[in-house]
């Protein structure tokens, strides 16, 4: 990707906190119109990277360009083109929904008439028309999240950075938020999206980067990432009872990583292979076992994430 096309271009970004290297020689390019997913366990360097992009943090080494221009703390023209939806709801408790959206919009747009249009549009976009005169304390968690988004997008930024915008919201609100992001993207907005909800990332993101220990450990489309790991589908077969010898035959199949029977269901985790389901069902048929429901689940992004970053708990000292 040519650098003049990138909305975000990072080269060899290094950020240290004393001995700790929070971001370790990170490079990435984000093209216009992409929804770029930034994944990683807690402490992997996602938020630090975003704060460096936004110049909220200085960094030890590297280059950051937005829209082809170096990003500096005083790059106000560039900041005008960026919108941020932080992970925590960051609004004025004493202002109403409309006043909040207007206050944040006013940080980028001076013209009052133009601002009124933008605020109306932002409130419409997140569906808060009925709550315009409500103060944040009167809003539910989902409505608050939507207000948080409206405050970040009201000035019509070309690049929106969303840091876990759907934390602690109900499924309806989440669906509303996700479809809103899809609409923004359809209008041409570039989005950087971080989340721990893999299904959201898989649904939204055209490209994904997985970070760990401050480094990019994998990047590509969701399918590309799934192809990078050896994990294949999960096969579940309703078998009733099953003898140990048959179970051992299933386990000995070439692409089977594990197999176990739990409450009458045979659950088989396969490595990537072309005929895993047929092979498992073949073993059952050869041993005269009848079966009921059969379910084959392809590998998910969550499987990819866990395989790449490991299953050990994070956030521990």
């Amino acid at each position: 990707m040519a650098s003049n096309e990138a909305v975000v271009r990072i080269r060899n970004l290094v950020k240290r906190y004393g001995e700790l290297v929070a971001v370790d020689h990170l490079s990435l390019d984000i093209a216009p119109g992409e929804v770029f997913g930034l994944l990683g366990p807690n402490g992997s360097g996602k938020t630090t990277t975003i704060n460096c992009i936004l110049q909220l943090l200085s960094y030890d080494h590297g280059e950051i360009e937005l829209f082809g221009q170096p990003m500096r703390p005083t790059s106000y023209q560039l900041k005008r083109r960026i919108g941020v939806v932080p992970q925590e709801v960051a609004v004025f408790d004493e202002l109403t929904v409309r006043e909040n959206v207007d206050s944040f919009c006013a940080l980028y747009v001076r013209d009052r008439a133009r601002r009124r249009e933008l605020v109306d549009a932002a409130i419409d976009f997140v569906g808060l028309q009925k709550f315009e005169d409500f103060r944040p304390k009167k809003l539910s968690g989902g409505l608050l999240r939507r207000l948080n988004i409206a405050c970040g997008i009201a000035h019509r930024p070309e690049l929106i950075i969303m840091d876990e915008p759907t934390v602690a919201v109900d499924p309806q609100s989440r669906e509303s938020i996700l479809s809103g992001i899809e609409r923004l993207n359809a209008e041409g907005t570039t989005v950087i999206y971080t989340s721990h909800y893999m299904e959201e990332v898989e649904r939204l993101c055209s490209r994904i980067m997985i970070m760990d220990h401050g480094r990019s450990v994998a990047s590509g489309t969701a399918d590309e990432l799934k192809g990078m790991i050896g994990t294949g589908e999960k096969v579940s077969v309703e078998v009733g009872e099953m003898d140990e010898a048959t179970l051992e035959r299933v386990r000995s199949l070439p692409h089977v990583r594990s197999a176990e029977v739990d409450a009458g269901m045979l659950r088989v985790q396969c490595a990537s292979g072309a005929h895993n389901l047929a092979d498992v069902l073949g073993v059952l048929a050869e041993n005269g076992l009848s079966y009921g429901r059969v379910l084959s689940e392809p590998p998910t992004l969550n499987d990819v994430f866990l395989e790449i970053t490991g299953r050990a708990l994070r956030d521990e000292a």
Partner: protein, 389 residues
Amino acid sequence: MLASLRASVLSLARDKALLVWTLAFPIIMTLIFMGMFSGIQDAYTTVGSTLGVVRDKNYSAAMGLDETIQAISDPTSSDHICNVTYYESAADAEAAANATEVDAYLTVDAEGAPQLHVTNASLSENGTLPTSVLAEILDTYQHTRAAAEKVAATRPELLATGEAIGAFTESAVQTVRLTATKNPPSPDARYYYALLAMAAGMGATAAMVSVRRLLPTAGPLGARQALAAVPRWRMLVGALLGAWLCEFACLLVAALFMWGVAGVSFGNDASGVVVALAASSLMACAAGTLCGTVTRMETSMISGITCLLSLFTGLYGTASQQLADTIETSVPALAHANPLWQTTNSFYALLYYDTPDAFLESVAALLIMTLVFLALASFRLRRTSYDHL
């Protein structure tokens, strides 16, 4: 800048805690003071006295004495000093004085010389002030009478002219109200001024809250606003102006309430009062801005500091006032370094001083403190920039 000013004003105007401390608190305290100080006001204004007069033949024979007594006891006269009760005998008058029905009683001896009798009971009840005023009047009467007798003995023809009589009667009794200050002393004004100063100090929390909302180090709201497409200093100025407007408005309302409801005098220079309120609220906002840069500082700490500084403005009673006066006398620099003392003093200067020098000095001191606080705040803000998330 306008965006942060507007957000600051709207937020602060709806912040109940701030409204309580900067507006409700001085108004409620004013109402309490009104109740407390009504007795004090009476004590300071009751300077009249009650005089018993033994109206016997000696009294009737004393030239001009009855006229003098009637002149100072006429309630419709501007020379009214005492209320008079007449007794038939000295024993009756003495009994009345012992019962503190009168502050003193007057008898006239055989030579026509008036004598003022004061009992211990009256002195312990009323002090020496009422009787000393009466003694001074009687002394004046005697001098006048002696002069008239001398003229009568040496140049009787002068008494025939109205000019000489007029001169004697004019000088017989004169009371002159002397005022050392521009306005009459108000014993409770000091409390109200100190209360306004305290409210101004409490208002520092407004600026603290406004400024802290803009600090990326203080929370997600600050971080979000740090991404604005305007320089941070402009946003800070907007927030500071917003806080100042809110605090100034609250103090103005409180001062108007004191003046209109409690009858507190601020002198005759209304514009001076506005300037003093503006300067003190600006100083408080600058102090709040400085406090806001210390992210670990709680708003309750501003309340604590304000309460402590108010001790040295005399807000907490006579002991506190004596302490403040002692410090002002013995270590004036320490008193002058107290911003709340300067606020109190600016109102004092408006009320009592003929020239604006003392007032201007206090206002200048408040403005200098404002600049110092802002300089320190900007220094800290530069240090706590983006790398302290």
